[in-house]
Amino acid sequence: MSKLKYFLALNRAIREEMSRDENVVLIGEDVGESGGIFSQTRGLYNEFGELRVRDTPIAEGGFVTMAVGAAATGLRPVIEIGFGDFVTACMDGLVNQAAKLRYMLGGQVKVPLVLYTFSGGGLAAGPQHSQCLESWFAHIPGLKVISPSTPMDLLGLFKTAIRDDDPVICFLGKQLVGTSGDVPQDTKDYLIPLGKADVKIEGKDITIVTFSQMTPIVMKVAESLKSNNGINAEVIDLRSISPLDIETVIKSVSKTGSLCVVQESQSPCSVASEVISKVVEYDSKILFKNPLRITPPFTPSPFSPNLENIYRPSQVSIESKILKLFQ
């Protein structure tokens, strides 16, 4: 094991896969010579050259569908969209093309592409630069969605995503960019299967499901609940949003009898809604308490740190909502 920063785990995953398979190409705004706004693509242009690492114009609507066409004809594009909010500019490419081409064309093609983007708030970036839109894509058959919270998960899931024959959308946490964590050192094949959640902390009193940059916050909540209130929370990091590892959640809730989902996107029609529905459909009797969603209110993400702190689930707000369940 060695320590690696989150953004460098992304860099390593792309580098290893580009070395392994010459069909892997990297496409996006400022991914080339400049090495990206967080230095996330540093060195790749020099190593793999201008045919395989392409700076695009600001034309998400064009180059994402271009990547679909390229994927259908033998390349394995990795695409960067800087901020998660800008996926709105390439929805057709993802929803009507990438997700459906294989199905519509009678299975004659596959669309092996990975689109990654930095999403979430906490940086006072305002309403158009802070959103979490992962549940939109989890709603679309044909797409896979991942959202890793640690450098290790990022490395393993991203490499799997590149090798996967279907379109995968990867939501990275903006606040996680500079965080550090252990990664395996002497392998170029560290893979984590898509659709497998990770039990971060074991506990018997409540299951807290979360993902991406809410994970480290929820882990702090669990520690505090344990030391201050004697409540043992089991923390599950979903890692994959679609496919969703509901078995791991159900197993946990069968033990704890209580379920809370913490996420950074609004609650209607979201990942939290889906997790709770699936558990209730499985057997509502395993729940001894009402399930709980902890999410921002139904408003855009505000700029002012003062408001953003109220808007986003925080250690304090999550804790107090969970404690109410135990009153």
Binding site: S34, P57, G61, A124, A125, P297, F303, N306, L307
Partner: protein, 323 residues
Amino acid sequence: MTKIDSTLAKTLLEKLWEVRLFEENTSRLYKEGVLPGFVHLSLGQEACAVGACQALQESDFITSTHRGHGHCIAKGADLNRMMSELYGKETGYSKGRGGSMHIADVNAGILGANGIVGQSTTLAIGAALSFQTKKLDNVVLAFFGEGASGSGAVHEAMNIAGIWKLPVIFFCESNKYAELSPFDVHVPIKNISDRSKGYGFKGITIDGNNLVDVYSNVLEAVKLARNGNGPTLIEAKTNRWHGHYEGDPQKYKPSSELDEKNWDDPIIKFQDFIKKEKIISETEIDKIKEIVDKKIIEAIKFAEQSKNPSAEILLEDVYASDF
């Protein structure tokens, strides 16, 4: 050439300094950690904002970009409320909900800065559509960058505006870089303005650091648009002195461009012009800067003394009607 009398020269110079000093102070405050989030400054591009907006009437509209402070100041936004918004305070234009990238003053004809690249042009043709439909003789000026020019939105906006002869001016600030990438990464031709041919309207490339050029060319375009003759594409070649955002290490720029001595200063250019033409005296020129200096200090004080937004503000204005 357009005549610049002493009243106009004073107004223009005052606006130039307002933009310059607002941006310089924003840069300082950001570095000091006072301002949250991130900011994109228009230092070096002052003549574009000021020249273009001076050619408009108060009831005309502009749409702006992530780099919008200059545009908003030039079109008449209040410095206090702008600064307050940058601080995230309740007295800001968006009550602290928008920040630097979303300054708007609809009464002053500012339909808002916007964080989604390219959409200033599409929103602009919408405002132009309103004017045309209501048979008003107002016009809309859309600021955008050469980076934005590569987006589908800009193509669609220009094509629609060309077909319907909408009263719009597409004003491209061609400042050599989009984020970290130089012009030729985004644009396969030398001048963006050449593209207007494909949409059936006029296009020109001008020196965006020359205020008089900007002003007179936009005046011309406004006249066309107001008279029902449709859009013009103006590409103003200019320079972004600072990084894409404050704090950007700018490793992608050659060192000559980072050296202040080499910066083509639109304010010095304009001051030299008014001195040469003896339009206003040197003492008056100096006085203008002093006055603006005070206004900016006032704006900062106003922002500092304003309250943080209260929790209810988070929930307001999501919908105009009941939900």
